[in-house]
Symmetry: C2
Subunit: 610 residues, 2 copies
């Protein structure tokens, strides 16, 4: 079988590259690459179809290396495919190189950053959904490690793949028995993996991961039968080098020069073969030409409305003018009001059930194909997907996340349901936009701003209905703020956002009676913060500032303002400083010190002590 | 069968309570309670053994209500068992009440807060492990909802239960078909759940969840055969009230008065029965009397040592003097150096494999029984368990978390492995202690401080070896700091921690040549911050401060200092402000602006502009 011979040669070349690259870099995971050399050869030079000149070709098969620490062999495969020059491989892990220690889209064939384990299959589900939605003939292949199958997120993704009936999704598990610090839970008990995937509804195929003919035959079977299918490949870590093969203690260790030479000698000289010729081109396909507007018809609200409801209505309106917008829900769509979109656009709506990690991972995958996923759940439960959010940032994903039910203002459901750390999740991410509307009009504007912006955006919405304050015509640019009250001789500036804007307005009324002027800023753009306006207004009120937010003390608006104003203002920061409990919204706002009366007191304190 | 009759009466009473309580509160999840009334009756008044006078009785069976939104029926069961007065039930969700909307240990029979779904089974695994380790005859029962079985964390826990062979663990899944916003993925396809649990190695039992005789028989079978066993109970949401039963749209909705009366009429008058008499007392058992010291023999380091290694060595030393200390690892123990403890105390070491959510959840469970779990992984991967950390805070857990490999100083492995948002995870938690040692001596002291403190503690460790600076005798109290350099006429105070302490010392040398004095503070206690010392020292250096940290800009040391000093200092904050890439540690520190040369520049800038 001449094809198998050719692929065996490529596998040898991939092994040689992987060993050399990591030794040159002085770090990396060569043995993890060696176990998957045959699998990679078969995937990239036989089974997958792609246009090696264009990673955006709509007909391409997609590939996700979920076990991201095997990055060297991925880069090696791209070199063999003619996508990058072979000499570049020696730049692995250099600060100037796109060939990082774990894959990121700085190398443009990488659709999502990996390296935090157990996330790739969710990304793959998203890519496969996107391919189906966009009528691409391409399929998606995800290569997982065995160790990462301990991550629950893998099983969330396994569920979703079957639920969505993804015939175009193929997973390959490189079962090399060894984790980082010891053997994996199941070692080489392939049947244990088979039982699980089968129970989750997958077509399961077992294969010797070093037997190219067997691998090819399995791929052929799957090509005919369709997915979601998984290949459980029994492999040896360090395969091909006697002193590495199946040995514990070699994880993440490059070979020193002497060992490297011994290893290369065992593998033999690099076989001569033009691997790029074996790459199978994709079927012709055209990227859909759907509308891509972000300026939708705004709603003429006439009464108190929750910002979460306005989010849902705006998303529905956006859906009408933008065919790339999709919505994902974690079985709370009747609370986040994403159900508005679900009802109008069922084909672009994806129920992720109570599995937030996979929900965000799918969003990452869909965004990599050009979709604009709006992913909503309770803000508190986005903490469940924090690692996926982190990786979405490193993936440069065009993802929009909405967290509803923020702060103590949700009331009786209690602390487990209160988003009190969500700003501290999103603000640290460089480049992440964080918007926090206070009324329905501003909420709709924030949805539009999110759609318009390329990148990660977080929108924070509130459970209770809030009064209308703005109008349909008001704009809410990213990085802006609104000065809501301004008078000559104002004594203190209060910086608020969301629900506390209304508490501040009440405090303004209260203090007005005592002829004390409050300047009020609605800092709806939590990040980037409108530093310029805030600095100016606070300076005009004698350097006296109160920040009031329905969030814990660290990582939110208060610290953002403190950092922005450092040295130029006296600040009182009102926020939630205890572990809260169940109660009525108004009671809780008061108990935890963020209601109008506390704002009044803080303003007076600043005035008295200056 | 008289027992079944009695339990049926109790089930009716639990239903009546649940309906009344939620109507009185005006919010809550009555239909979720109704589906599990028979299950609760059988658990609390037949199968479980507990001393209703003492939630700490070492012989007690433990119970975790993983579907925390069914809290009303849990409170109702406690009332029926005589643990709380029946009248108190009407206080549900009041701000003054321990009967919160979702269970928290403010009610002292609750061992871990629930309400973020899918976490209870991990807590149960931890409780069952603790019972086994402490030779308690008690078993652990976890009641899950069907919807939450979509959470990957459930399957992480399912894996762990079998891996650890927990004969004393029983899970009950209340399969009532309906989620919050629609039917669950599997609806009433009980076989789908059976396949999954079976594949994960559990003994699976199917039962009609409203048939008390069948439930009792199943419990009996399990009692003889041992666990981990799961009861898949087919139930109807809203069971017992015709207009609620199996109907979508009733999730989380209390009944209005008229509907309530109709419902109560259907159920009939509350049967008279003294349920407390049915409670089975536990077998006699005594809490172990292991050593519980925290002052261990410190190591006499003589050369550069990574703080992560010192963490491992200290944990090992602590293990010798404290029998309650246990260690949990996510297959990175040779990187966090938890392997030191694992090697010395295998019976108190728990390999969680690559499943961080379950790892933290198990820690919660073990801490609830009095153990002191030290849970370590890469800081970046603690983001995977952020929701569990959040719930650990609401559980008032005595849990110690260690995150290694923080910041860009890890080098070539790249951004996915860099802990750059970990401070922003832990700082927002009210009461959470955050320690960040710079050298091996201070790292050991931080482990001791963590062991001594009752509550959540996070320790941040560094990958590269750092010079020794302190001594074995130095103490590092929580809330303290160290002034490392102080001279008359110092121009600027630099506040650093961890790796940046050493960059600051280099900057000090550099500036000394130019006769510019730097005052240096090692702010090892990131939270609580030593506000007093920092304020004083900064004031002494003309209100000029530089904060330098290997963390993203938001939520870390810089914002903590900015908040503490607001109004009294000019601050330059050096931190990681871009999405970083792979590279050598020194290169990265320099590229992202946190090396000695940047500190020198910042100090000069502050001096020039003042």
């Amino acid at each position: 079988m001449r094809k198998a011979d050719a692929l065996q040669k490529i596998a040898a070349r991939l092994r040689i590259h992987s060993l050399r690259m990591t030794s040159q870099a002085g770090s990396g995971h060569p043995t993890t690459c060696l176990s998957m050399a045959e699998l990679a050869a078969c995937l990239f030079f036989s089974e997958m179809r792609y246009n090696f000149r264009d990673p955006e070709d709509w007909g391409n098969d997609e590939f996700v290396l979920s076990k991201g620490h095997a990055a060297p062999i991925l880069w090696a495969a791209y070199a063999e495919a003619g996508i990058i020059p072979e000499a570049e491989l020696m730049d692995l892990r250099k600060i100037s190189s796109r060939l990082e220690g774990h894959p990121t889209p700085r190398m443009n064939w990488v659709k999502a950053a990996t390296g935090s384990l157990g996330q790739g299959l969710s990304v793959g589900v998203g890519l496969a959904l996107a391919q189906r939605l966009g009528r691409s003939p391409g399929r998606t292949f995800v290569l997982l490690g065995d160790g990462e199958c301990a991550e629950g997120s893998v099983w969330e993704a396994a569920n979703a793949a079957v639920h969505f009936g993804l015939k175009n999704l193929v997973a390959v598990v490189d079962i090399n028995r060894l984790g980082q610090s010891e053997a994996t839970m199941h070692g080489h008990d392939i049947a244990a993996y088979a039982r699980k995937f089968k129970a989750f509804g997958w077509a399961v195929h077992r294969v010797n991961g070093h037997d190219i003919a067997a691998i090819l035959a399995t791929f052929e079977t799957i090509r005919k039968a369709g997915g979601p299918a998984v290949i459980l490949a029994r492999t040896l870590k360090g395969k091909g080098v006697s002193f590495l093969e199946d040995r514990n203690g070699w994880h993440g260790k490059p070979l020193q020069e002497k060992d490297l030479q011994k290893a290369l000698q065992e593998i033999g000289p690099a076989p001569s073969i033009d691997a790029a010729k074996l790459v199978r081109p994709p079927r012709k396909a055209r990227r859909p030409r759907w509308n891509k507007a972000s300026n939708f018809e705004r709603t003429a609200y006439t009464e108190k409305t929750a910002t979460r409801l306005a989010y849902g209505i705006a998303l529905q309106s956006l859906g009408r003018v933008n065919g790339w917008v999709v919505a994902l829900d974690g079985d709370v769509k009747n609370s986040t009001y994403a159900d508005r979109f679900f009802d109008s656009f069922p084909e672009r709506s994806f129920q992720s059930f109570i599995a937030e990690q996979n929900m965000v991972g799918m969003g990452m995958g869909m965004s990599a194909k050009g979709f604009i996923p709006f992913v909503a759940t309770f803000a508190a439960f986005l903490s469940r997907a924090h690692d996926q959010v982190r990786m979405a940032a490193y993936s440069f994903a065009n993802l929009k996340l909405c967290g509803s039910h923020v702060g103590v203002s949700i009331g009786e459901d209690g602390p487990s349901q209160m988003g009190l750390e969500d700003l501290a999740i999103f603000r640290p991410i460089p480049g992440c936009v964080v918007l926090y509307p206070s009324d329905a009009f501003s909420a709709e504007a924030c949805v539009e701003a999110a759609a318009r912006h390329r990148g990660l955006v977080y929108i924070r919405t509130t459970r209770p209905a809030t009064p209308l304050f703005y109008s349909r015509e008001d704009t809410f640019p990213i990085g802006g703020s609104k000065v809501l009250r301004r008078g000559k001789g104002d004594a203190v500036t209060v910086i608020a956002a969301g629900i506390t804007v209304f508490e501040t307005l009440k405090a303004w009324e209260e203090l007005k009676k005592e002829r004390i002027g409050l300047r009020i800023i609605d800092a709806y753009s939590i990040q980037p913060l409108d530093k310029k306006t805030i600095t100016r207004e606070v300076a005009e009120t004698g350097g006296r500032a109160v920040v009031v937010e329905d969030h814990f003390s660290a990582g939110g608006l208060g610290e953002a303002v403190a950092a922005a104003l450092a040295g130029s203002a006296r600040i009182i920061h009102l926020c939630v400083r205890e572990l809260p409990r169940s109660g009525k919204p108004a009671e809780l706002l008061d108990t935890y010190g963020i209601s109008a009366s506390h704002i009044v007191r803080a303003a007076k304190e600043l005035i008295e002590h200056s």
